[in-house]
């Protein structure tokens, strides 16, 4: 079974600084997807960024980028120029590629609470 681990229960960063959130996962699959979701106090789950495992290039979305290390099964999220609105719980999630018995199932990590200090 796939597992996702976020070893940092809490992180904090100063506004305008950069912070990196860690995520590791375990899978026997060679193709899969990885996601970072943000959950603000409203508790809605908002997609931040996604990475296809077959792509070598790390995904980037504006101030958000990932460091995907497939061999190490590591998928960290870097937030540059942090803003107060970035404060939230961040979840790393894994999804298998379509097909088989686990199509579409997202497996989440435990989450990391990010605090942004003004």
């Amino acid at each position: 079974a796939q597992t996702v681990t976020q070893s940092q229960p809490e992180m904090s960063v100063q506004e305008a600084e950069t912070v990196t959130l860690s995520c590791t996962y375990d899978t026997s699959e060679s193709d899969y997807y990885l996601f970072w979701y943000k959950q603000p106090p409203s508790r809605q789950m908002i997609l931040v960024i996604r990475q296809e495992a077959y792509k070598q290039q790390n995904a980037t979305e504006n101030r958000f980028s990932v460091n995907f290390q497939k061999a190490a099964k590591s998928f960290s999220l870097k937030i540059s120029d942090s803003q107060l609105g970035d404060a939230a719980m961040y979840f790393c999630a894994y999804s298998p590629l379509g097909g088989g018995t686990s199509y579409g199932k997202l497996t989440f990590g435990q989450g990391t609470i990010l605090t942004v200090h003004p």
């Binding site: 979840f91 097909g99 199509y103």
Partner: protein
Amino acid sequence: EPEVTQTPSHQVTQMGQEVILRCVPISNHLYFYWYRQILGQKVEFLVSFYNNEISEKSEIFDDQFSVERPDGSNFTLKIRSTKLEDSAMYFCASSEALLNRLIQETQYFGPGTRLLVL
């Protein structure tokens, strides 16, 4: 921008009562999911649904749970006889169907329904 909607936003019920949580997925999406998040814990997969049948379900999704797509827009989760431990935030999600079913598309989440069982 299209979004997943869920009703009600909050529901309080007595143990043993039936509840129905409703979701309206994004209109061109054909894959639907339910997840739950017990307070302070990670988000857990419950069930996935495609082509009017369950694609996969977790061990949490026992006989007390059922899902239905009663019409062209709604997707419901029914808990037949609620237990105290069913108290959680329930998230609906949907993703787009592609001709090539082997490609996993991003799941977009609704704002959640907070269920409290007394």
